[in-house]
Symmetry: D3
Subunit: 238 residues, 6 copies
């Protein structure tokens, strides 16, 4: 798995940490390369603690959020880019899709992970899915010769949302993150303001670990992350 | 992938050939072990050509069907067992489930493949799914200590039915069978009576190969088989 | 459409009246033949009014129900057969399937209509679906030469249940019953004990007529019945 | 809500504790009556720890499991009955349905809760759903006068399975169990052998509490249980 | 239920009458407050009768539609606001979402009801769903401290569309409107031009009343309205 | 079926050939009229072969693609119009919907066929579905008198996508194209650059022919095309 490139796209700068820090750490510790892109900093919808400080400014909130995300990405061996498109609402169309498609053409990821296409609790997550899915299609073309630059199609998955059943999320693959759980914990600790979520997602990793044990009977698995493939993968054997 | 054990369970003795001969060949040519179990010989529902011969008997039909299936299994490196439970209708309950569960406890397969649970064109395929699924659960237990002998849970998939969309089949993994396509062709040639199906499924393998190329951009893929995972698999990275 | 044979299978003797009397009348008035089979008389679950009479017996209830159903069938030009398998619960398995399959092999229907496969309000309706579906498959075989007598596969539809959305019912075809609505009314009047349902289903036919008008823009449609195809039909043009 | 009767039916004697002890405690602490029925003791599939003791017998395992379940039920104010139908596999048909229907006719529950109808990890849970659903329908009849004793239809829900998304479970109602969480903890402590599950389901209650807070904005909610209604409920206002 | 605030958002000024006048009347007669918002007057798509008058103008059509809607709202105790965004097509995006979100922040509704997200017969209904859903999410924020004004999240439901099964509508709650049916009738009578719909929806209320009787066994229920919850509700007991 | 008007709308100029040339030929050879509209020429995403020529220009690519599509349409008796809206990405909104709606009001088609609403492999196909569906609704109005010109609602279907199961496509009707297969072959031959697809879709027509034979038992069917109805049709009998 060395040198495979993994791209994780989140609506807000902290999204990747809770749902995909483990798979990123697993990927980079195996010699792969990983990149995180945040469409926004979540500066309006998810930064309430920061806004409690008197004299707070939006630029300062973004600066702090950028720093946290960068540190968290570093903790799992990934680079971090914030596109700063704004949140609550994240509104993105053709131009933003083209911008992300350009990044994908340059990076040529083997695997792309983002939010599911539905979330009745968040206006920005489905937008992030749509932008990522469209950019991915614009990047790969129709897998025939195209009149523009393309790169090979990537595997495409979505990570686990906060209330999975209500987002139509059905896991199709568990990634065993036992060997890198400490890196995920470190990444989560970079997210200063959301103490409760650190505990929540540490427990969630244990639960998914339990599910992965049930699926395999392998008692060495302690923590896992769940993903859903949007497109079948191709293998040389089962 | 050496030494992994693959178990394919079909309702009738020819089912495995059209839908899973490629994955079996891929598995055995990589050093794995494969076993095919047919719940019936399809002696009533799928052996019409044989019944045209004057003086034909059910025992003779079964004998011929057994020979064909055994030869086809051999062509892809697998062993073949016919449980001879009868077809059109295949009626199977607790006793038959227990019998298959015993076989599974002995064989301890890493992967089990059977029919989807729905087929509006065939009364026996859903029964085969049910029997296999129940036997598999009885084999693995609750993955806690159980009051009976268990073996680790297997991966569980269904192969492609004849009219996929109407059986609720959605592919989640394509197996590239390009390197073993000649073995699949040989296995299909063992099925003397169903000329048309040989052509149909050879073309189908080409089509699934086209789909697998679209998914990966890998132009070396010529033929593939499609499967749907019923239970997530566990991996160490994406 | 002359000489096509229509078979309607209900769990209880009155089911066909509310949901399919119109399509039957339409069929027979166009020169087709129609047959109604009731798996039970609904003598326990749907005959409460009759049980209020002192000294009532199950045989008498069945006799009355038979008479009502026969009269209703006659009102729309169909024959009626009651298999008398018992209701609440209707329990039917291999033997009953074989019996119905024999009837189908004799009758060789072009179209078969029964209940949907799901009904959270009735224990007998899904059984009727299962029995009919299995018998139909046993009748047609695999559409290759089979080792037993077969007849050509029939079109297969389900009629509208009482609470459609909760039974997973999605209409795929509306039958305009405007020209035969009076026959359906007559058939409903044969069902002495269920006054309320006569009004309910007369209104329902108006509502489905409204839906059919919306679909076509054809203002001559007044009443309709809704059906869901379980298997695609084949046409020579759209 | 005083004097409403709640019935919880589990496949194995411990099932109700993890998934419904909270709603039971909430119900009884509000003055309602609650009854737990276990179709089996889970003596084969879920009692591995007990089987490790030398000389263990099935009767002793059942005795211990009965004691634990009775104590747990008592901790949340409910009575407990074990029908002892056997597990792994739980095989139940007409007779067992009739037996449960008789219990329902006597108890006349306002609310019935059981397992979802699908569980790819457990052979007994779907059987428990089927038996309960059929018994419930046989108890209520068609809500017209019937030829047998009926009681008014109950509300019908399923509790949360261990891997919700893979069982098709979608929560439709959260019950706030904050005021009775200590009773649920006590009930879970009665289940001596399954330490890990106590922690798992205590965390799960926290997570569902988090979801319920998100849904309402009510920060006083700490723990919750999730249920899915199978049949709509009727209210006098929203 | 006193003092709870109910908000009903329709694509056209008459939508709320047919599908939600009962629940509004039930709400206000219990002391609650209710507000109806129409995104458009339906002046193009649903006002054909008015356009038959010679010399008709769009402003006059809107004036008449406003008057009718206001009278109907008054009949069930609600206030009415028309946003006049245009119909056939209703095209609404960020600006309109923000406008509705501002209204929601001011009104702080406990319950929001609108159209389902799918309607193959109407281009405007899904737009109304989208606008309402987005505005609701922008109003509640992420239920953590946000960088903008929020109000607590509301319950969120959709009312019954004209062809429910084809709009993916599955009822999850019936509201008994028996005590206020005369108010709903009065509200419907304010809609001068659509005689047929008055009869249609009066019958529909009877049918849903029948369904609600079946669900509960409560024979005092005569009329009901059906709704589908989009997000689970939280209760203190079942 | 004489004089019925069929409209096929594709995202790119070649789409109609692979998926609907047969139904068009069947329609026109029965005396009906058919029109093909391509929203774009697929000049960027599907014309790679043409771009290999040195000095190629976009105008020349479009010219060649127009010629091919026109010849293919002629081969099956249809007229061809290219709206030239651009591809990869096809971006279309209110203005494009209005333009297509105007065409529909003029043409007043009895049947409209386009792409499914989902395609994880193509960014333009779902846009074509949306534009067509919206234009169709704007054309028909609410089937009450409207304040603008309307024509009667058309039947509405989608044709088979390249990877049907992953696009949510479930066939509801097969059209027997045996008598016009040679015309479809001729139309496919007009598409110079995509040799492989000619073979693929010729085989696909054979496979759908096999499915249609299974459904009917009619051995005279050799080739078929599959379609899914989005809206029920109305018939005078089954």
């Amino acid at each position: 798995m060395t040198q495979r490139r993994l791209l994780v796209v989140g609506a807000h700068s902290a999204d990747f940490v809770w749902r995909a820090a483990g798979v990123i750490a697993r990927h980079t510790s195996a010699g792969g390369e990983a990149r995180v892109i945040a469409l926004s900093y979540g500066e309006r919808g998810e930064s309430g603690e920061l806004w409690k400080e008197p004299g707070q400014t939006v630029e300062n909130v973004k600066r702090i959020r950028h720093g946290e995300a960068e540190a968290a990405a570093e903790a799992v061996g990934a680079s971090f880019t914030g596109l700063d498109l704004g949140d609550y609402p994240l509104r993105a169309g053709g131009e933003e899709i083209d911008r992300l498609a350009d990044i994908m053409r340059d990076y040529a990821p083997h695997v792309v992970i983002t939010h599911p296409d539905k979330d009745p609790f968040n206006p920005d997550h489905p937008v992030a899915h749509y932008v990522t899915q469209q950019a991915r299609l614009m990047t790969a073309g129709a897998v025939v010769e195209a009149g523009f630059k393309t790169v090979p199609p990537s595997e495409f998955l979505v990570f686990e949302p906060h209330q999975p059943e209500l987002c139509g999320f059905v896991p199709s693959v568990f990634v065993d993150i036992t060997p890198v759980m400490d890196s995920k914990v470190k990444a989560m600790e970079c997210m200063a303001a959301q103490n409760y979520l650190r505990e929540y997602y540490a427990q969630r990793a244990e639960h998914r670990g339990n599910h992965a044990r049930k699926v395999t009977g392998d008692k060495s698995i302690r923590q896992a992350e769940a993903f859903q493939r949007i497109i079948p993968n191709v293998v040389s054997g089962l």
